[in-house]
């Protein structure tokens, strides 16, 4: 155990975490030249395309340092707030963390939030000043920023370039010298932390764990504490680039487990694995059931595909336990599912995976957060409202509460004014303002989560010219003055377009929704009134005028194939539209309310 080091890499997005991981793997020879490709650990197609890490992963390296062999377990963590619980569990599996800071961009919001997570778990922090090769790098200043933030010595900050390989050897030495070896007793009853799981269609769920005490052996009968279910450890091993089967994985080490579990929901990140016969008395602290933060309806574009959608969602859930869904029906869209997601990125990923992996064409309705409604009759019992249409009649409501978050924003002092205005417009209340340096400010706001769902990121980027980073954490429910804004197309209410909005903004947002829908709903053979209403009161109205002319004037020799191709494309687009009443609504219109300021 003395020669094991467990560490993770934490960083703000794009500061080079995945690239640094690649360099460490190269340097220790964990990856052969043939296996080398950029951002090796980002294995999902979506991750590679978007250049972000969605699922966390783990990999083991062997490294000889001063003639002594060491085993280094690197746990890569996801970089997006949607997955912050997974980050926290990965961090809990380590004794140390490389805190990677971009030498051009300095400390950003996720640097700080991840750092706090690491400090809460008593991790040894090794600051890495990455991208020193960049011409725009400011190594001295950024080093000072890091020193201020951590209260460490300048010498502790390792200048590095994950691109050119500068500093990699120093980082490896620091991992061995500074990060303490795991403590733990191999003779105690098994106690292992589940920090991740992945679904493998052939082998079922692969559980990634860190053994705290005891050991996990092939063939052992084990128990998951939170789910209270027993399994046999069919296979255990360590995580090289490919899995390496072992007879046992001992205290201090990181490994994988296969039990034949076919449903990802049976393996919960944060759960404790123990021996079924001799269970541990101390489950590892910090387990939480991940709670969905954002809800939206998912409906098939083609109503006949409801059953197919159900089976696709079930299959998806097998490998993504954080997806929850329940059947619902909408007057406008027929049968579909109300789904809970960890956040907006997670929602996009699910929608994209449904389309890519299951070939489904779906409509995602306006997303919302989960509200608590209290009626006059029962002012102490919260009715959980995951769908705006479930909000009880306004006259019977005592109050409504909505989830709030604490937002951390770091920006340049030039943009403080802009960022403040945006956050105030988004109903934020400033709770703290700290100058990290003369140029860089950390702002904290208490804000409704719903406001972040509705085009916050993009606008933050715009108002700060890209110089603002953002992170958030939930802080509970607060009372709020919310009303439901309904949308009527051709005088018919379309429930899938309803949204709960703060009373003060309802009229403005209702108006913008109508304008946006007018842009997106193509002209049809009749005028289509688009209205926003609160209860029976119409607050805004637009009209998509009837299509009068839909034919090109000239269609001679050269025009024919060009025209045919254009119309074929148009027809394909129509396939993605949904008939609501007698109006054809394009798929993207349902999400339009998210992009009211484009």
């Amino acid at each position: 155990m003395k020669h094991i080091r467990n560490f993770c890499i934490i960083a703000h997005i794009d500061h080079g975490k995945s690239t640094l991981a690649d360099r460490l793997l190269d340097f220790t020879g964990a990856v052969t030249d043939r296996e080398k490709k950029e951002q090796l650990l980002d294995s999902m197609d979506l991750e590679r395309e978007r250049g972000i890490t969605i699922k966390s992963h783990a990999i083991q390296m062997e490294y000889t340092y001063q003639s002594q062999e060491y085993v280094l377990n690197l746990i890569d963590t996801p970089g997006h707030v949607d997955f912050s619980y997974e980050v926290s569990r990965s961090i809990a599996a380590c004794e140390g963390a490389l805190l990677v800071v971009d030498a051009a961009q300095s400390i950003q919001a996720q640097t700080i939030s991840n750092l706090y997570l690491a400090l809460e778990n008593d991790l040894e922090i090794i600051p890495v000043l990455n991208k020193v090769d960049l011409p725009s790098a400011n190594p001295e200043e950024v080093t000072d920023d890091i020193v201020d933030l951590l209260g460490c010595d300048t010498e502790e900050v390792i200048p590095a370039s994950a691109k050119t390989g500068i500093g990699i050897e120093e980082i490896l030495s620091a991992i061995i010298e500074r990060i303490p070896p795991p403590e733990g007793n191999p003779d105690e009853s098994l106690q292992a932390l589940v920090f991740d799981s992945v679904y493998n269609p052939f082998r079922g769920v692969e559980t990634y764990f860190r053994v705290i005490n005891g050991e996990i052996k092939k063939g052992q009968k084990i128990k998951f504490v939170a789910t209270d279910k027993d399994y046999f450890a069919d296979e255990v091993g360590t995580l090289k680039l490919t899995q390496e089967i072992k007879q046992s994985v001992k205290a201090g080490d990181v490994g994988y487990l296969i039990t034949g579990i076919k449903d990802a929901r049976e393996v919960k990140v944060g759960d404790t694995i123990t021996d079924a016969a001799k269970p541990t008395k101390n489950a590892i602290e910090g387990f939480e059931d991940v709670k969905p933060m954002v809800f939206a309806g998912i409906y098939p574009v083609d109503t006949d595909e409801f059953e197919e959608l159900r089976s696709s969602m079930e299959k998806l859930q097998l490998n993504d336990a954080s997806l929850v869904f329940a059947p619902e029906s909408s007057a406008a869209l027929g049968f579909g599912f109300r789904c809970g997601f960890l956040g907006m990125l997670h929602m996009e990923i699910i929608q994209e995976r449904l389309e890519r992996e299951f070939n489904m064409t779906v409509i995602t309705t306006v997303p919302n957060v989960s509200y608590h409604a209290f009626t006059r009759k029962n002012p102490d019992t919260a009715l959980i409202v995951n769908n705006p249409t479930d909000l009880p009649d306004p006259s019977s409501i005592d109050r409504v509460e909505e989830p709030y978050i604490k937002a951390t924003i770091i920006t340049k002092s030039d943009f403080v004014g802009n960022v403040m205005s945006l956050c105030i417009e988004k109903r934020g209340q400033i709770t703290n303002q700290t100058y990290l340096t003369t140029e860089r400010v950390e702002l904290n706001f208490d804000m409704p989560l719903a406001e972040i769902v509705f085009d916050f990121y993009d606008r933050l980027k715009t108002v700060s010219k890209g110089y603002a980073s953002f992170d958030y954490a939930p802080i509970g429910m607060r009372k709020s003055k919310l009303v439901r804004v309904d949308i009527l197309l051709n005088a018919q209410p379309v429930d899938a377009l309803s949204a709960l909005i703060h009373a003060d903004n309802a009229v403005t947002i209702g108006k913008k929704m109508c304008e946006k829908l007018k842009e997106l709903i193509p002209r049809q053979q009749f005028d289509i009134p688009i209205q926003a209403a609160i209860g029976a009161k119409i607050i805004s109205r637009e009209t998509t005028k009837a299509l009068r002319k839909d034919v090109t004037a000239k269609c001679y020799g050269g025009d024919i194939s060009r025209k045919r191709k254009l119309l074929e494309k148009q027809k394909k687009g129509k396939k993605r539209m949904r008939q609501v009443g007698n109006v054809e609504v394009p798929q993207e219109a349902f999400m339009a309310v998210l992009k009211l300021n484009d």
Partner: protein
């Protein structure tokens, strides 16, 4: 050799290079169009026509059309052309009103427009003129006057197009800057209705959305495009169709000439699939009075296609945007102005 000479000789050479493609065909029509073919002298036109006769079998009385703008048709030029094999003129009048011509940035003025027709009708019997409607600020009255003016010259054919604003044109930028009102589909639709009525009363048939002819004067050349006949397009950017493949020449004059000089056809080819052909047939068919023949669909494309076509057409038959006459699916007056959208809906698409 000047540029124009080089082009003419390339055109003639291309005609020669491609004669194999029409071995068993008879040329029924010759059409000088696209761009401004009236920059050619009569001699050059004659030379090109001669090349057609030298290399192809030509029917007894081919329709030979020249597209020309009023400013290229002087009195003398018209007389010269009349002596050539050209027997049909298609004149780009656009409008008889100064304000419309200015707005569309035309080279001729209203006076020249009238003068040219007056001269042309003295010699040519088969004349077509182009008229544009749906122009911003063009009132219904002015449009009616335009049509009446055209009819007063007793021409047997009119092509009339709704104004479309092509991106990156002067007109587009004026509209964007708010100097000129945007084109309004409602106005275009009203003008089209007026046009249909007026032309019908005057004894013209709207045999295609934008083409009106008196009996015996439908453009044979253009009709061929909508009836899937074969054609050879000569010159830069010209398209050809051989019944199964569509091809088009490079759209760059110097490259075109260079390639032809080296005995190479500067051509791109696309093979049409059965579905492509069906889609094109539906698309062009709905534009014309000949419609989409159900028999032809069944014979050429099969039962599946016919079944699909009828199933898709159902809604439009009900809405009276389409009707079936005998065995033909035809767009109604109301449907004609929506023909593209309807055609797209009748298209077969492999998703």
């Amino acid at each position: 050799m000047g540029k124009k000479e080089a082009m003419v000789s390339a055109l003639r050479k291309e005609l020669e290079l491609r004669k194999g493609e029409f071995q068993n065909e008879t040329v029924e029509t010759i059409y000088f169009g696209g761009g401004t073919p009236s920059v050619l002298s009569c001699e050059e036109i004659n030379d090109i026509i001669n090349s057609v006769y030298e290399n192809y079998q030509v029917s007894e009385n081919p329709e030979v059309t020249l597209e020309a703008n009023p400013d290229d048709l002087s009195k003398n030029q018209i007389i010269q052309l009349f002596k050539s094999p050209i027997n049909r003129l298609s004149i780009g009048i656009q409008s008889f009103f100064e304000e419309d011509l200015k707005l569309m940035n035309r080279a001729h003025n209203a006076q020249e427009a009238e003068q040219c027709i007056r001269e042309a009708t003295k010699h040519f019997d088969n004349i077509s003129i182009d008229l544009i409607y749906g122009i911003p600020e063009m009132t219904n009255e002015r449009w009616i006057q335009n049509i009446e003016k055209a009819l007063s010259y007793d021409v047997p054919h009119i092509s009339s197009y709704a104004l479309t604003v092509e991106p990156k044109t002067a007109l587009a930028s004026f509209i964007q800057k708010g100097i000129i009102k945007p084109v309004d589909d409602e106005v275009a639709q009203e003008h089209f209705k007026i046009l249909l009525d007026k032309m019908e009363t005057a004894g013209f048939k709207c045999y295609e959305i934008s083409n009106f002819g008196k009996p015996g004067y439908f453009s044979k050349n253009n009709t061929a495009y909508w009836q899937q006949k074969k054609y050879i397009g000569i010159g830069p950017s010209a398209h050809s169709y051989d019944g199964g493949r569509r091809s088009w020449n490079i759209n760059n004059n110097p490259k075109y000439i260079k390639s032809i000089e080296n005995n190479k056809l500067p051509v791109e080819i696309e093979v049409l699939s059965k579905t492509d052909k069906y889609n094109e047939y539906v698309m062009t068919g709905l534009r014309t009075i000949w419609g989409v023949s159900l028999t032809k669909v069944q014979e050429e494309f099969g039962k599946q296609y016919l079944k699909y076509l009828l199933q898709q057409a159902d809604k439009y038959l009900e809405e009276q945007l389409l009707f079936i006459d005998d065995d033909k699916l035809i767009a109604t007056k109301k449907g004609r102005f929506l023909a593209d959208g309807i055609a797209a809906d009748l298209f077969m698409i492999n998703l």
